[in-house]
Symmetry: C2
Subunit: 185 residues, 2 copies
């Protein structure tokens, strides 16, 4: 005992979140059901409720996982932090929607705002930095959300789909405009 062998391998929260991320990437949020997730883990849906109180808290853990991947140097500029966060959201199908929809619920989830505020605080008074983060964060979430929806609509052929390059330039411009407005270098 101690080490789990292959036949007694059981699930933990991290592993379940990882499986959820796989389903998100391959099939999207609409197909991320408790039953499907359970099947991915060779288990019944009811087993998941031993690990998570509800689907909502599972999704909050998933949002955590997505956002945590936004790695950034300790001395990163505000623009770099915003870019990294945006990239983390766009790295997974429906990533922005998952994070946006659990932002208020996810208890460990003030990290993105804090990282933005930290970066801003290096050139701005703490107060201005906090308010600046409160502008940057909704912009990043809103922008990523709209971009991702457009991509998806384009895949379905609903809409032209003028490419991700335009969206990237757009995003960088937005961050620059907000930083200029804040008087941050």
């Amino acid at each position: 005992m101690g080490m789990a062998d292959a036949t007694t391998a059981r699930n933990d929260r991290a592993g379940i979140v990882e499986a959820a991320l796989r389903i998100l990437d391959t099939h999207g949020l609409g197909d991320l059901t408790m039953r499907r997730l359970a099947a991915e883990l060779d288990v019944r849906a009811s087993a998941l409720y031993w690990h998570f109180d509800s689907k909502q808290v599972l999704l909050a853990a998933l949002a955590d996982r997505i956002v945590r991947a936004a790695e950034v140097a300790d001395d990163a500029s505000p623009a770099e932090v915003a870019l990294a966060l945006r990239d983390a959201l766009l790295a997974h199908r429906d990533g922005a929607e998952v994070v946006l929809s659990t932002q208020a619920l996810a208890l460990g989830e003030d990290a993105p705002r804090r990282r933005l505020a930290e970066a801003l605080a290096r050139t701005l008074p703490q107060d201005d930095a906090d308010r600046g983060a409160a502008i940057l964060l909704p912009f990043v979430l809103g922008h990523a959300s709209l971009v991702q929806q457009r991509l998806q609509a384009a895949e379905l052929g609903v809409v032209p789909g003028d490419g991700a390059d335009a969206a990237d330039a757009d995003f960088r411009h937005g961050v620059a405009v907000i930083l200029a407005g804040l008087g941050a270098g």
Copy 2:
């Protein structure tokens, strides 16, 4: 014939959307199901599919309805347009989520961005105005979305809930910062 009398009154798209809005306000997006909406109209769920191809297009029509209520003078400033749009989103429970999640799908739904661009174009070259609207819109949607989630989480007692006044000041500050960054008066 011509006029419908009480006993033969049947539903049209506008009336269905109005009923959907009532359910949204009183019970929230989670309870806005086709069956419940049908019950509100004294009809079976399948009847709704004569009027709308799917729940998604019904929600797109609902988003349209919510956004259309953002009335604004023809010569309104960009800040006034942004405020009016924000107010329209917050006027209905889960309004921001409904609009954000159907923004790309809703076919008649470029109106908010166009109104923002128009207002900006009075003090900015058309090109800058268009790019400015592409910054303001995600900020408005993202901010309203986060505010509404926090309100809801506060109602459930999950989180302190520091009031809507702070959120309003926050929003106005954000709009001012973005406009300053754009060099718009």
